[in-house]
Amino acid sequence: MACIEARGLRKAYGTTVALDGVDLRVEEGRILGLIGPNGAGKTTALNAILGLIAYQGELKVLGRDPWRERDELTRDVCFIADVAVLPRWMRVAQVLDYVAGVHPRFDRAKAEGFLARTTIPRGGKVHELSKGMVTQLHLALVMAIDARLLVLDEPTLGLDILFRKQFYDSLLSDYFDGSRTILVTTHQVEEIQHVLTDVMFIDRGRIVFARTMEEVESRYREVAVRPEQLPAARALNPIHERQGIGRSILLFEAVEGPRLASLGEVRAPSLADLFVAVMDSQGQPQGAPR
């Protein structure tokens, strides 16, 4: 069964179209990165999937309509929408008590176990914790919930690199078991590249690129081409071209390896490079995501 299935998903705020006919299908057990420039519709898409906003078009999450059946869905879906939303007045122990009180799939012992590995004081209030600690706390809660879909919207925003790495490491080693589905949006593309199994780029309310990471790794090659070989390289129809130091860097899709090797040094492009290339080809130059 598909975990998320959308057909012609639309959402407009007044005259601003946030989602302009999104089609997507995410199978269970995948880790999907939804990547897009600011204002592309990422958060709107997630809000629709979480049943937080009404929408037009067809959308099924775990076989349910998220807007009409939100109450049933919240048992199977977890989300961290932003690091700052844990209530600042709440004590850490109260957070645990409350979630244990209302969530049928919350394993308190597991959450305590995760927290024991951190330096979070149990009696502390959320507003006394550092930003990294708040995220650790939220992650400990979410990882202790036996959910089928976990949605993360910029979960590591404003955290230093150590926390960010730790965040995704524990997500992979302690949470992801191959049957759960994780949907994540972030600007820090490079850090999640090795975490994902699937990637989608969203631009102006449309999905403009959707591949598995295997496809990305096998189909795309980047070649650093010297100026004298540029005409020959361009003849192979690169999908993107940018300037490196003394060389042009050309991105090719589905061109055989040996032909590229004769043009210069070949390597796999990073997801960030691919993102820039796809966004450029959409005719909207965007700053590369960090």
Partner: protein
């Protein structure tokens, strides 16, 4: 295949750990009290002040009782008045807490974006709104009652000690004050008036809180004032004003004696039957339900600010 196996092996534990709606409601109310500590701190602070004041008052008590010992009615008044006054003060304080609590209840969570956290947990909008409505409808009346009873007990103790210390018998306090009758009246008044009769007010405040982006107090009051003024200018009447005033200051028709309507005693003639047979009572509850239903819908569709 493995994923299917995992799913099957996981499902029994998930199914066995079902959580009843009552439990969710209980934890939702509890979290409201955690967040809004003024629910019990405000009446406790007022109770503290009352105890201090009654300590000072008790100094003169033996003298007062001695002077007025000839007139039993006067004596009764002197003894009972501080207790009635304490109850009124506590009721007033929790009423103010209730107003500010309601105005912030559904706006604050959108303002600080914690609504995203609350909505990430399996607690429905209906449960949340009902839990918030239960604060003025149930929790505050009960807190008021409990704090008042304890305050009265402390006041009685102080008075008795003072009388004994001055060589008089403390028995006069215990015979003049019929506590169980007083407390019974108080509880009845709190449930009948503060909770049920004022239910449309509480519902309205919660609805405004769910709707307004800011200045909930103004949105809750100014439109009513404006309608009242337009009514006054256009038709030279003041039905709305009378309606609201009557709802706020008095009970059902038959139960409202003229005089001091805010006093607890004004509720005494109203029996539960009179309440239950008054159409205004049911109309008010229906309005409260409608306001709360609208608040549930708004909470569902409104996004964080």
């Amino acid at each position: 295949m493995t994923t299917q196996m995992d799913a099957i092996s996981r499902s029994p534990t998930a199914a066995s750990a079902a959580i009843s709606p009552a439990r969710r409601f209980y934890w939702s109310v509890r979290r409201e009290v955690w967040e809004n500590r003024s629910i019990y701190l405000a009446p406790l602070a007022v109770a503290g002040l009352i105890v201090v004041a009654s300590l000072i008052n008790s100094i003169n008590l033996p003298g007062q009782l001695h002077v007025s010992s000839l007139d039993p009615a006067e004596q009764h008044r002197i003894i009972e008045q501080p207790y009635t006054f304490a109850a009124l003060l506590l009721m007033f304080s929790t009423m103010v807490v209730g107003v500010f609590y309601c105005l912030d209840a559904l706006q604050g969570e959108r303002r600080d974006r914690t609504i995203l956290f609350w909505k990430s947990l399996p607690v429905s909008d209906l449960t949340t709104v009902l839990a918030k409505a239960s604060i003025p409808l149930l929790v505050l009346p009960l807190v008021t009652f409990a704090v008042t009873v304890v305050t009265h007990a402390i006041m009685l103790l102080l008075g008795s000690v003072r009388l004994l210390a001055s060589g008089q018998s403390a028995g006069i306090l215990w015979t003049q004050l019929s506590f169980f009758q007083m407390w019974g009246q108080l509880l009845y008044h709190l449930i009948a008036a503060h909770s049920l009769w004022w239910a449309p007010f509480w519902g309205w405040l919660l609805l405004v809180s769910a709707w307004a982006r800011r200045a909930a107090l103004l949105w809750a009051t100014l439109p009513l004032l404006a309608i009242g003024m337009v009514e006054g200018i256009a038709f030279n009447t003041s039905h709305l004003g009378h309606l609201l005033g009557h709802r706020f200051m008095g009970g059902p028709e038959s139960a409202t004696p003229a005089g001091n309507p805010m006093a607890m005693n004004s509720m005494t003639p109203a029996t539960p039957v009179e309440y239950l047979s008054s159409p205004g009572f049911w109309l008010g509850l229906a309005m409260c339900a409608a306001f709360l239903a609208a608040a549930v819908r708004l909470r569902r569709s409104r996004e964080p600010m």
